[in-house]
Amino acid sequence: MSDPADELALTIRVAGASVLATLTRTFGSLQLAEDAVQEAALAALRAWPQSGVPRDPRAWLLVTARNKALDIVRREAARPAKEIAASYSAPERAPDIAEAVIEMTQEAGSVRDDILRLIFTCCHPALSPEARVALSLRTLAGLDVAAIARAFGVPEQTMAKRLVRARQKIAAARIPYKVPADSELPERLPAVLAVVHLIATEAHSPSSGDAVTRIDYELEAIRLARLLSDLMPGEPEIISLLALLLLTAARRPARTRPAGAGQNGAGQDGHEPVLLRDQDRSLWDHAMIAEGTGLLAEAVRHSGGAAGPYQLQAHLSACHSTAASWEDTDWERIVSLYDLMAALGANPAVLLNRAVAVGERDGAAAMLAALDAIDGLERSYLWHAARADALARLGRAAEAGAALEAAIGLAPTGPERRLLVRRRQGLA
């Protein structure tokens, strides 16, 4: 983020999220608060490049957005009540000037509660996971609808509808704008963490693009995880998720490479994926890995021995990120971590990764047996590719070729598929 325009946009997004959180509480309508903050953000984008960023950007945005919100309320008051109900769920109570003054002088603690309220509302389990992710990116990350739509590969109109529906449900079903009690946290926190994790793993971050729309979703997720960990210190699963995101992002410089000369594995942006075993580990961000492993140790202290799903995933990621090479990886530990994860809830993807680790520990025959023992992955190209790998190592070239063919037939188009095609050429 060296570009001053990017930096300005980020400042507005970060301050804007906390202003949105406060206005949603005072006006009782997420839609109204979003519209007001959007207008204030546009005003800031116009004013700040000339006047300079104010000393307290949040206060500037809060005053501006509040005035915009009051304007909207006045405007709406002139319209028939039925129309207002259709666009804004009627505010529970009208804001007053005394309240506005109190807001201006409020303590940091109440900002913290406002942001937590916003997080838990946007990530309420009564909303679909897609809606939670979209709403969080819109409100907490302050991204515009077009950018979110691009990240999830859906038309802008579809994403806009999804957001409208989510806001309508919050208002109509009365999803409360509040921080859950400590006793409810074990039920409510996983939905929040899942949203942050999905942002890191599912959102497509373009590796190139113009400055206005360049959003790095992996860093965006790290920022949200840091925010959560600041707001709710000492929660082991939050710290574990942050550790996991850092440990994974640290490998990013080695995860893709410019397509080699004469190779046909390049994606549209001229980059091809590099498997973990082939990555140049000197390219990894070792400061980030150190922060990740430090956080993981902290999470272990806080969890008192009961590792949650993110802690297990962070341990796995740490195993890889701290190994000198693929061969030096502690496969024994990785297999036992997968066993623990499978015990929390067997999911075929976990079993697939476990089988690969078994292969590294015990050899290709054991890997093939572990793979064939998994049910329900017949349509997964990763399963077929892993079988092809095991069969090739066992010298069963014909079967390996057939498995690769199956994998190629099921693989999504793009770099993953081209990588498989190259492997098949290598087999011949």
Binding site: A90, R93, A126, A173, R174, I175, P176
Partner: protein, 128 residues
């Protein structure tokens, strides 16, 4: 406060009273769990209404073909065949969705093999 219709879906073979069944005096609930639930939710003032339904084979589904005033089409049975069917309902008044969820989770249909759907009630002319 907000109103929610709690729709109680339960397995077809569970709980339903047959047309000829006569409930014991003062006991209309079909599962001991419902008596217990009413004993807690009743005094709390949460329940604004509710009934148990006869089984879905007793249902008749009506639609008017061709819009208002068209032919009334009557078919035997429920709107949709399913393993879990609507067995009854409660009208619940709660502060917000979290409050309503807390009560819905205590209804036997939610923990005894079925599900409870919470549908917000459209409140006309609502004064906030």
């Amino acid at each position: 406060m907000a109103l929610y219709l709690a729709l109680l879906y339960q397995p077809v073979d569970q709980y339903f009273m047959q047309p000829g069944d006569v409930p014991a005096p003062g006991e209309r609930s079909v599962s001991p769990g419902y008596g217990e639930f009413m004993a807690e939710a009743g005094p709390a003032g949460v329940i604004k209404g509710g009934e148990a339904l006869l089984p879905p084979e007793m249902s008749t589904t009506i639609t008017v073909a061709g819009g208002k005033g068209g032919d009334v089409v009557v078919t035997d049975g429920p709107y949709a065949e399913a393993k879990e069917v609507l067995g009854g309902y409660f009208l619940i008044e709660a502060a917000d969705l979290d409050d309503a969820i807390k009560w819905a989770a205590k209804i036997p249909a939610a923990w005894d093999g079925g599900k409870v759907e919470l549908r917000p009630v459209l409140e006309l002319n609502k004064q906030n």
